[in-house]
């Protein structure tokens, strides 16, 4: 009860309370009554369930990808929940070359190049529009904002890229979605909020716009840069529809997300491995095809899981404190 009580309740610096009286949970304000047992229990249950709903599937998938053929068979051919015979077979099979290995490289390439392009373009644009009364900034803003209200639709976009000979080209996976107006507007907001005095001082000292952007604006807005990088990178990493549109046939060019779709989601047989439809176990093989499928899922997950904790703190800082005042 004490742990639950110390954990749940209203946070706020606790005013000194009479030590003689009932022990008050740390952070609970004086005016607030003690929590009811039912309320505490309900709250704890709901939050635990919410967390488990996210964590459990991920746990089961990771565990299954590391499970041996036998463990998966004993689990009835679906996800393994209790560790029962581990094996690295699935990963060994995947990384001995073939579609998945190639796809990992392609995905990293697209994500890296795409994020660099997007961030460069966005930072420049956001800074270029951040000074009020600059030439044409209102026009450019309107031009950007209009794209949020109206779009030509999927087909004309596809036709334009096709007429530019983007079919089966990697740039078709990057450039059409390289600019996010929403992200640029957020960045612009942050740039406008950086200390103007510092910029003015730099300007008097003879610094040009490139210099100001590089030495003053960027170093003071690291949080938003981090968050936007994450947004763009995650977008490219998971990009699927562009592949469906522009290179659906050549599996040697596919990024990971499309490999995941084709071989795990649709259950097509993966060339080079023994994955024949998720869930159908083929006997006498080193790794269970199901484990291989799950290993593909895990590989798509890993970069997100690795980067996320580092950026998460920026997240709260960059998006919330900077954003909402107070």
């Amino acid at each position: 009860m004490t742990t639950v009580e110390s954990v749940l309740g209203r946070r706020r610096p606790a005013p000194a309370d009479g030590a003689a009286r009932r022990k008050r949970a740390k952070g609970r304000p004086v005016w607030e009554g003690p929590p009811t047992l039912v309320g505490q229990f309900g709250k704890g249950t709901v939050l635990t369930v919410v967390v488990l709903l996210v964590v459990l599937p991920l746990y089961a998938i990771v565990l299954t990808s590391f499970s041996s053929e036998g463990a998966i068979t004993r689990a009835g051919g679906s996800l393994v929940i209790v560790p029962d015979g581990l094996s690295l077979g699935a990963y060994r099979e995947i990384f001995t070359g073939g579609v998945v290995t190639k796809a990992v490289l392609v995905s990293f390439g697209i994500t890296l190049v795409g994020t660099v392009v997007s961030m460069t373009v966005s930072i420049l644009c956001a800074y270029g529009l951040s000074r009020s009364r600059s030439f044409g900034h209102r026009f450019f803003l309107m031009m950007m904002i209009f794209t949020m209200f109206f779009s030509g639709g999927i087909i004309p976009g596809f036709l334009v890229v096709s007429e530019l000979h983007g079919y089966d080209q990697y740039w078709a996976l990057i450039l059409p979605s390289a600019v996010s107006v929403f992200n640029i507007l957020i960045m612009r907001g942050f740039y406008q909020a950086t200390t103007q005095d510092l910029m003015d001082a730099a300007r008097i000292d003879g610094a040009g716009d490139w210099r100001i952007l590089w030495s003053i604006v960027l170093p003071t807005t690291k949080a938003v840069t981090a968050v936007m990088t994450l947004f763009y990178a995650v977008g490219y990493w998971g990009s699927w529809f562009n592949v469906l549109l522009y290179m659906p046939f050549d599996n040697s060019k596919w990024p990971l997300s499309y490999v995941l779709y084709e071989y795990v989601n649709l259950g097509t047989k993966m060339p080079g491995t023994n994955t024949g439809g998720a869930g159908l176990s083929v006997q006498h093989e080193v790794a269970s095809p199901f484990a291989i499928s799950m290993a593909v899922v895990v590989i798509t997950l890993i970069p997100i899981l690795v980067v996320y904790p580092f950026l998460q703190k920026h997240f709260t800082k960059g998006m919330l404190t900077g954003a909402i005042k107070g």
């Binding site: 946070r11 919410v50 909402i324």
Partner: protein, 347 residues
């Protein structure tokens, strides 16, 4: 004029004179700046455009790449909607395809499948509005009442994580949980109960899709609403408590009104995007569930336009959706203004 988004929050163009509690997130900029700027503007004479052009040429150069990309990939397609009035043939391109006038649209409006897709879109949108919308609000209120800040940020981080998964990934995960070979059915099988493949059930599809949306995006909503909650003045709670308001009264009279601005904003966004119900999500699952319940306007445009190679027809469906969406966004903003809130942009 303040602005909007696909993702969810408003970005006021000018710093607000006074940030209202629970106002849109991410309004970077501090109170008081506008007035200062205005004063400066009044004091300074307006420069001629020639001088301003020369002065700002670096800035213009910086804006150029983004504008070029927007022009090619956003504005060219807007002119590409002429294909909706053509019998588009890839060999001839936009300029030389046969002009058919409104033929594509008349065909479209006589197409039962199109109206079915339209109806599906509206139904899915409505179900999501009713079942999805309140969840992040409730969870945010709940999470806000958690005392330990460590635990709070841990839960927040976990719940927000799926926001960064692609739809392919989310659907694969759901398939492993609820699909024919998934955990749920394995459990049912082991306990000799009838199995139920939710992933391919047309009847359950709307709820499945909503569940997926909640799983993936509720975390984002929670963060946004938590921000609104953080802006509520704690003294309000204190004085209410002193006046004898209980837990529920405080929630009703302080918490909810404090979140009102954000709730209206999110509602407006949802209404404005009513015709975009998770395109990738539908496209990936369309074959498993069948077009009967999974066909929405976007997938209709995709399948008839690109799948069948009838580009003009697909473009017409897309244009129809674009125009209705634009009208919806404007109406939703009217609604927000009528409710006394900013919405996506201010009056």
């Amino acid at each position: 004029m303040a602005v909007v988004t696909t993702g969810g929050a408003a970005v006021p163009e000018e710093a607000r004179p006074k940030a209202p509690p629970g106002g849109p997130v991410m309004s970077a900029g501090r109170p008081g700046r506008t007035s200062r700027r205005r004063a400066r503007r009044a004091a300074r004479p307006r420069l001629s455009w020639r001088i301003r052009l020369r002065r700002d040429k670096t800035l213009l150069l910086m804006v150029l790449p983004a504008m070029a990309l927007l022009l090619v990939f956003n504005y060219l397609p807007m002119f590409g909607v002429v294909s909706a009035f053509e019998f588009y043939d890839p060999i001839y391109g936009f300029l030389h395809s046969n002009w058919v006038g409104l033929q594509n649209f008349t065909d479209l409006f006589h197409d039962q499948l199109f109206w079915h897709a339209f109806q599906n879109t509206l139904v899915l949108s409505f179900v999501q509005l009713v079942l999805y919308f309140p969840i992040p609000i409730m969870l945010a209120v709940l999470l806000n009442s958690v005392l330990s800040s460590k635990l709070r940020s841990f839960i927040q981080a976990v719940v927000y994580l799926p926001h960064f998964f692609s739809w392919v990934l989310v659907i694969t995960i759901f398939d492993q949980m609820l699909g024919g070979a998934g955990l749920l059915n394995e459990f049912l099988r082991q306990h000799h109960m009838a199995t139920w493949n939710i992933m391919t059930s047309p009847a359950a599809f709307k709820y499945l899709v909503t569940a997926q949306a909640v799983w993936k995006e509720a975390g984002w909503g929670i963060i946004v609403f938590l921000a609104a909650l953080a802006a509520i003045d704690p003294q309000l709670y204190e004085s209410a408590a002193v006046d004898g308001a209980g837990r529920w009264r405080r929630m009703w009279h302080i918490t909810l009104p404090g979140m009102r601005g954000m709730i209206v904003l999110m509602l407006v966004l949802r209404l404005g995007n009513a015709l975009s119900v998770g395109f990738e999500q539908m496209l990936i699952q369309r074959n498993a569930v069948g077009p009967q319940s999974a066909e929405v306007l976007d997938t209709f445009a995709y399948y008839f336009g690109i799948g069948n190679g009838n580009f003009g027809y697909g473009a017409a469906a897309g244009l129809f959706k674009g125009v209705i969406s634009l009208i919806l966004i404007l109406l939703a903003n009217r609604l927000a203004h009528a409710l006394g809130e900013d919405g996506l942009y201010r009056k």
